[in-house]
């Protein structure tokens, strides 16, 4: 029995490794979780895109579940996610805040006019400084922030149909309880 184990063990190790590697290859190794998850949303105070409105701050949104969507008129992938954002806006269940990232206000306005504006509020981050605080490294990105002002989820890249149900509804259910 011992002799047989010596002969078979290397094959078993190889088989186990192969299985793990095959499964491992399905995942994307570069998709790393954000370090911001379960941390308070960094504070900021940015001008509102629509003139004459108050500055946008996370504090003013305390007590509500809200989404911070980083977008720009120069961003091609933002066009892809735009219909889904409009859908979320129609539900009127969360506050949807846009962060116009490194974009000229005039361009942002034109872009929203052409496609429809899903946002309740739009913060203008022309220099991308708030983006740095939020660790933005690609546009679009969407942060899900709970009533306590804590970041609960971060989506990198365009959000899809399943996004709201998977990552926002559970928080709303919690908040409702």
């Amino acid at each position: 029995m011992r002799a047989n184990l010596r002969l078979i063990l290397p094959l078993l190790v190889l088989a186990a490794l192969t299985v793990v590697f095959v499964i491992g290859l399905q995942g994307d190794p570069r998709k790393l979780p954000s370090v911001f998850i379960d941390k308070p949303a960094p504070a900021f105070a940015l001008p509102e895109l629509a003139e004459g409105q108050a500055v946008v701050t996370p504090e003013s949104l305390r007590g509500k579940v809200w989404l911070l969507n980083v977008f720009a008129s120069w961003c091609a992938a933002c066009v892809t996610e735009h219909p889904h954002l409009l859908q979320i806006a129609r539900l009127k269940r969360v506050e949807l805040v846009g962060l116009a990232y490194k974009d000229e206000p005039a361009d942002t306005r034109a872009w929203l006019q052409a496609r429809g504006n899903p946002y309740d509020r739009i913060a203008v981050d022309r220099e991308g400084l708030v983006g740095i605080d939020y660790g933005v490294y690609g546009v679009p990105e969407t942060f899900v922030i709970d009533a306590q002002g804590v970041i609960r989820y971060k989506a990198v890249g365009p959000v899809d149909e399943g996004f709201f149900r998977a990552h926002v509804e559970p928080l709303l259910a919690q908040a409702g309880r």
Binding site: P10, L11, T18, V20, F21, G24, L25, R30
Partner: protein, 681 residues
């Protein structure tokens, strides 16, 4: 035209290897192998596939040097501004190019074997060459089907995307070729082991034939790892030299298996013992080289080395790995069932100590593999990303490898087969006590007493003494008649290159243990903010003055160039340190270039951080700069130690025992042909 020609040459090489190995396998299967004729065909095929891949490689290098951006690979990895040596090195900067280099190395080792193996038994040689050509066929097929380095980009790009700045370093010219020489070199030992299994030739001769090849591969791998580590030390700017990064570990794993292998081969060669260990290690060393290639190329693990990754290719390499290694392991399970370890030996003997070496190296290998792959296991099982850091590796590595240094000091002095506790303890007890005492004094003199530092230093000292004392005793034994002793040079020669190679390599290990202990125990790291003209103390007796910063332009980058003056004692200037922070233009990437003053007893290492702006109105000359200063005691010992180990392994190649004499060949060949007939039947 050149790109198409290169592709054609690779295709021809593939056809050559596929047809030749296929035909030979068929002949083997039918038992109709005419060993002499087969060897002529195989030798010619090995040489032609080498010449063909070399031709393809030269063509690719030409495309890179002439910046032909109508080739995708060139457009993605080169740039007209790149200096010529880097254009050349960019040939293996991409996945496709590095795989072509991998293939070239495999063909090179096979051709070298074909040329140097005339003395091998003909049937055995035919099997070894067939296996190597079959491996070539696999990897050339992979190259052509999913990693074609000659793919066109039409219309051609105007300018190339540039070589990753991290790779723009003189070491890029030499590190990957050395590493690949080592990785691929284990293919030869693998082929020897599989051929021995196929032919049922599990006697000491195959081990003797395999030894110089395994030693050479191990030496190249050692150099390759050394260069990679030194490169990281110079380039990354963190003052570290080993990060336990998955890709570093991927090169360390075959090295550990190779270290066990070259010692296990010695036991099988000399004593016909540890046979199944030796076979298994031959397979495992090559399997781990393939695993290393897979880990680097597939992107299955996150790594700072993830230069060129692609999951599709990962599946392909993985299938090949599983197929090749799986077949070899099945053969191992079938054919070594009855042989076991072979020659018997006592609990206290040189064999048992070498077995302990095998066990320790394998345990270290297992620990590294577990640490490297654990994040992957964890993700597969729990879906969560995590990483395993240096504390784990250091915690498991030290207790496994430090005892090895103590065992190594005693092992060569033990007799084969059986020895007594007395012969072990008599010289070693006193020496161990002396080395511990000396190390304690050393540590107390340098600062606070730490046991691990004492054990490390004493291990290095004991190993040095044990190795040299053994050589002294061996030379004494050969003196012969005390009245008219044999000349020293004659005695040195009689001990053989293999012996002196071992002495050199073991002294290298001692230097390594001392170097690592010193640098880990006494390194000083300072993160400073310095203004122009400011001076800081570094360690005891050195002062570093920040003279200023200016802007310099390189061929494809602009750099902030810091100038520091290192003074010793009463202000005597010993060195100017000039670290840089470079911005590479094509990719807009920032790279740090550390500046290092090397010394036998300490390195002083300066790297430039970012400017610290205290007031927005500060002029550039008033800016304070973040500066990292490191004092690294005995760092050079680590590099020299690796050079000694590699040189030691190369020295063994000169040994007369490995020179295959034609005189033996006919008898061996006759036996082999008979064996071939039997194996084929």
């Amino acid at each position: 035209m050149l790109a198409e020609l290169g592709q054609l040459l690779v295709a021809l090489a593939l056809a050559t290897t596929l047809l030749t190995s296929g035909q030979q396998l068929w002949a083997l299967q039918r038992g109709s192998l005419d060993a002499e004729a087969a060897n002529r065909v195989l030798g010619a095929a090995a040489l032609s596939s080498f010449v063909l891949t070399l031709g393809a490689f030269v063509l690719l290098a030409t495309l890179f040097v002439s910046s032909d951006f109508s080739v995708l690979n060139v457009a993605e990895n080169s740039n007209t501004l790149l200096p010529v040596p880097y254009k050349f090195a960019a040939t293996w900067g991409s996945h496709e190019g590095s795989f072509l280099l991998w293939n070239l190395m495999l063909c090179g080792w096979t051709a070298a074997l074909a040329l140097a193996s005339n003395g091998l038994a003909a049937g055995f040689r035919a099997r070894v060459l067939t296996i190597l050509l079959l491996l070539q066929a696999f990897f050339l097929l992979f190259l052509l089907s999913s990693s074609n380095p000659f793919e066109r980009l039409l219309p051609a790009a105007v300018e190339g995307r540039d070589l990753n700045p991290l790779l723009q370093d003189p070491f890029m010219v030499i590190h990957p070729p050395m590493l690949y020489m080592g990785y691929v070199g284990f293919a030869v030992a693998f082929a020897f082991a599989v051929a021995a299994l196929l032919e049922r030739r599990l006697d000491p001769t195959w081990a003797r034939w395999s030894r110089p090849w395994a030693n050479a591969a191990w030496a190249f791998l050692t150099i390759g790892i050394l260069l990679g580590s030194w490169w990281a030390y110079r380039e990354l700017g963190w003052g570290g030299w080993w990060f336990w990064d998955p890709v570093e570990n991927a090169s360390l794993m075959p090295w550990l298996a190779g270290t066990a292998l070259i010692h296990s081969l010695a036991v099988t060669d000399k004593r016909d013992a540890l046979k199944s260990w030796t076979i298994l290690l031959s397979i495992v060393a090559f399997a781990l080289s393939l695993l290393g290639t897979f880990l680097v190329r597939s992107g299955v693990l996150t790594s700072v080395h993830a230069f060129a990754t692609d999951p599709q290719r990962g599946i392909f390499i993985l299938s090949m790995l599983t197929l090749i290694v799986g077949a070899a392991l099945v053969l191992y399970a079938l054919r070594t069932r009855d042989i076991g370890l072979g020659g018997r030996f006592g609990r206290l003997s040189r064999e048992s100590f070498l077995l302990a070496n095998n066990v320790l190296m394998s345990a270290a290998l297992g620990a590294v593999m577990l640490g490297t792959l654990y994040p992957l296991f964890a993700e597969v099982i729990s879906g969560r990303k995590m990483s395993v850091g240096p504390p784990y590796f250091e915690a498991v590595f030290v207790p496994l490898l430090l005892p090895a240094a103590y065992l190594m000091a005693a092992a060569p002095g033990l007799r084969w087969k059986e020895d007594t506790l007395r012969t072990l303890l008599r010289p070693m007890a006193l020496a161990t006590a002396a080395s511990l005492a000396l190390a304690s004094v050393w540590v107390l003199w340098l600062g606070p007493f730490k046991w691990l530092t004492v054990l490390g230093l004493s291990g290095g000292l004991l190993l040095t003494w044990g190795t040299l004392d053994h050589a002294r005793v061996q030379l004494g034994k050969l003196a012969g008649d005390p009245q008219q002793p044999l000349a020293l040079t004659a005695r040195v020669r009689r001990l053989g290159a293999s012996y002196w190679g071992m002495v050199l390599a073991h002294l290298g290990v001692a230097a390594f243990v001392i170097g690592v202990t010193m640098v880990k125990s006494y390194e000083v790291e300072k993160d400073l903010v310095m203004k122009q003209g400011q001076t800081v103390e570094v360690g005891q007796g050195w002062r570093l003055t920040f003279l200023g910063i200016d802007r310099v332009e390189g061929p494809n980058y602009v750099a902030q160039h810091g100038v520091f003056q290192l003074t010793e004692g009463a202000g005597q200037v010993i060195y100017r340190l000039e670290p840089q922070k470079r911005l590479y233009q094509a990719g807009r990437q920032v790279m740090t270039e550390a500046s290092i003053h090397y010394g036998l007893l300490r390195d002083i290492y300066v790297s430039l951080g970012d400017p610290v702006q205290s007031r927005p109105t500060d002029a550039v000359s008033d800016l304070a700069w973040g500066v990292r200063v490191y004092l690294k005691p005995f760092m050079v010992w680590v590099w020299l130690a690796c050079v000694m180990m590699a040189l030691g392994a190369f020295t063994t190649l000169l040994d007369r025992r490995y020179r295959l004499r034609k005189a033996q060949a006919p008898a061996a060949a006759a036996a082999a042909v008979a064996g071939a007939g039997a194996a084929g039947a």
